[in-house]
Amino acid sequence: MAAWLLRGLREGVVTTRYPRRPDDYGESFRAAVSVVPSAASPSDARLADLCPTGAISVETDRVLLDRGRCVVCGRCVTAAPDRFKFESGPEVASVRRAALVVPKAGEEGVDLDGLREGLRTQVKAFRRSVHVRHVDAGSDGSEEWEVSALLNPVYDVQRLGIYFTASPRHADILLVTGAGSIGMLDPLRTTYDAMPDPKVVVAAGTDATSGGLVHPSYATAGGVAAAVPVDVWVPGSPPSPFSLLQGLILAMQVLSGEAVGR
C-alpha cells in the first residue's frame, strides 16, 4: 500500500486546468474541420465528392461543412488545403444541431473568447454536482475509451462536480455514444424515461449525431436523436476527452437554464 501511495505522490499534479485555463494539448488537438474563407468562387461541385460521409455541400456562393457528419478523416484538408483546414481546440460542441454546420450564416468565425469566458464563469458558478449516465447505442468502442478517459487523473472531471453513475435514477445527464443501432433504441429510451427531470441528453460523437460512416444501414437509425431528444451535440470520431468535457459543461448550462444559443 505504501509503495502505491509513494508512486502516486511522486508524479505530482498532472491534472489539466481546463476550462479555467486553456490546455496546451487540448489546443493542439485536431477536433474538427473548418472551411477556409475564400474569395474564389466555391461553386466547384467536386469539393462535395471529397467527403466520404457527405458532410460537404456546395452552394452557389459558399461551401458548407456539417461537423455533425464529418469524421475528421482530413481527406478534404489534404486534397484542397486552400478550402479546408483542421480546427484545433476543444470547443466544438453545440446546443443546436444546425450550429454544427460551418461557417454559420452571416459569420465566418466563432467568438471563442466569449465562449470560453462563458465556460469559465459557468464552472465557477456551478456549485451543485451533476451525475452522468453513459449508454452505448452502437458505438465502435473508441468513444467508450474517450468517455472513460474523463475519469483519469489528467481530466479528473470530479474536480468539476461531474460524477458518473450506474443508476439512471441519480442521473442528470444522459451521455449517449454510437450510431443508434436499432437494438439499442428501446433500452436507450427506457434509460431516459427512468431519469428524473430535469434531464439533458448529450450525443457524443459524429456517430451519435448523424450515424457517421455507419449510416445508412438497415440496423442503425442514423444517430441517437431517433430515440431521445438531444440537447447537446459533440462532433468527433471519436470526440476527444476535451470535446466531451466541453459538451458536459454545456449540458450543465442547459440544466441550470443558462444555455447559450450556440
Binding site: 466520404p52 436499432i182 433500452p187 455507419v214
Partner: protein, 499 residues
Amino acid sequence: MSAAPPTVRLAPDELAGAVGERVAGGRRFAGLVASGDDAGSTILRAFIAGGPSFEVVETELPAGVSEYPSLTPSVPAASWYEREIHDLYGITPAGHPRLDPLVLPLAGTDRAHPRPGSSTAVGQLTLDRSPLPAHVTGEGLFTIPYGPVRSGVFESVEYLVESYGEDIPHLRTRVYYKHRGIERRFSDLRIRDGVLLAERVEGTASVAHAVAFCQAVESLTGVDPTPAADLVRVVHLELERVACHLDSVIRHTEGSGQAVAYARMSLHKERLMRLRARLCGHRFGRGVAVPGGVSGPLLLEPADALAGIEALEEAIAKDMAVLMQTPSFLDRLRSTGTLPSDVAEIHGALGPVGRGSGVVNDVREDRPYGGYRLLGVDVAEPEPAGDALARQRVRLEEISSSFSLVRRALDELSASRAEPTWCRDMPEADGLGVGWVEAPQGELLYLVEVRRGRIIRTAPRTASFHNLALMPQAFRGDILTDFVFIEASFGLSMAGVAR
C-alpha cells in the same frame, strides 16, 4: 504480400466432411464467412490455418437452396459462425445443435435478409423485446439478464446469467443490440472509403483493421508497401496493442478497487494515446494505413518518438512490477475464469485468451507480413494456467515485446537516409483478397472482394467474435463477483463481435 489463398471448391454436402477432416488432422478452423450475390446464390468459405497462408474451403449454394449439412457437430468452433450466417442469409445449417439468433433480433424473422455481398433490398430491423428462453432448468434456477445497458462506461451487450444465487452454471451472451450492419455497409464503397469504415468496425483496434483491409487489397494488386511504410505500420500496430492491453489492466484495477493503480495505469494510457496522436494526428491511429502504404511519415522525429516511448515503457514497467506483487490484486485474478487448455485448443482460441491457456496462435510468427518479416517477433511464452492472472501475465509480456518492436522499427526508420516512398500507386485490380493482422485481441482476418474499384464484399473476422464464444466456458466454479475480471481479462470489443 501473399498471392490469392489456396482454394478448394466442393459440393455443399462435402463441406462439413472436408473441414472436419482438416481439423481432425491437427489444423485450425479459423472462421466461416458467407457472401451473397444478386442472383440469390451464396458462397460459404471456411478458413483453415496452416502453412504460409489460410486455405479456403468453399462451396456454392445456388439460388433457392437454403440448407447445407452443419459443420458444428464435427467442428464446434463453427457454431457462432453458422448462427450468424443463419441470421444474415437465412441459410440453415442442418444438424446445428442450437440455432438461436445471434446478431439479429429474435422477432421479425420474416423480413428480407441483409445478405452482405448482394445489393438487394434489406428490411429495416425492428425493435425486439422477446427474452431468450432459459437453457438450464431445475429447482431454484433463475436467469439474471445483465445488460444491455451496463453499470458503468462499457459497450452494450446482454449477458444472461443462469444461476441459483452465486454460482454460474451457464452463461449466454446476446450481442444483437450493437449490430450496426457494417458488413452490408461496405458494399459498393470505393476502396479508400472502405479503409475508413474498416477503422470503425472495432474502434479500439482501428489500425489493425485498416492494415488487414489494406493487405487484402494489396494482395489483389501484387503491390507491396515499401519497407519504410511497413515499419510505420508496425509502430502504430504495436502501440495500439499496448493501449488495448493497458485498458484491460485498468479494468482489472478498477474492479479490484486498486485506486492508486487505477489512476496510475489510466495516466499511462492517456500519455500513450497522446503519443499516438503526436505520431499521426489521431489518438486511435486512424488515417495511417492506406492501400499501398501509409498516408505519410511519423510526425515526430524517430529520436523524439523513441524518447517518449522509452519514458512510457519504463514508467509502465515500474508500476506493473508493483501491481504484480500486490496481493489484494492478484487474489482476484488467480484461479478466476479458468479456461481449460483442451477447450482453448479445440476452439482455436486466439490472442491473449489462447496464450493464457497455453495455446499460441500468433499470425505475426506463423504467417509473417509487412514489417514483421524484417523485424521478427518474440512471441510471448504461453501461460498454461488458463485463469485471468495467466491472461494478465501474457498481456504484460506482450506489452514489453511490443515496446521492443516499436524501438526496433524506429531504429530501422532512422537508419534509412533517402526519403522513402510512403504510399505506392495501386493499379485497379478485381478479385478476392485475404489479409491478416495480429490485432490486440488476436488474429484478425479480412476477406475483401473488389470489382471495378468498388467493394463487393468485406468480411472482417475478428478475434473478439471468435473468442467471445469461449467465455461461457471460463465460468466453471466462478461466482457473480468474478464477472468483471473474466470479462476484462478476455479484453474483447463488442463492436467487433456484433459489427
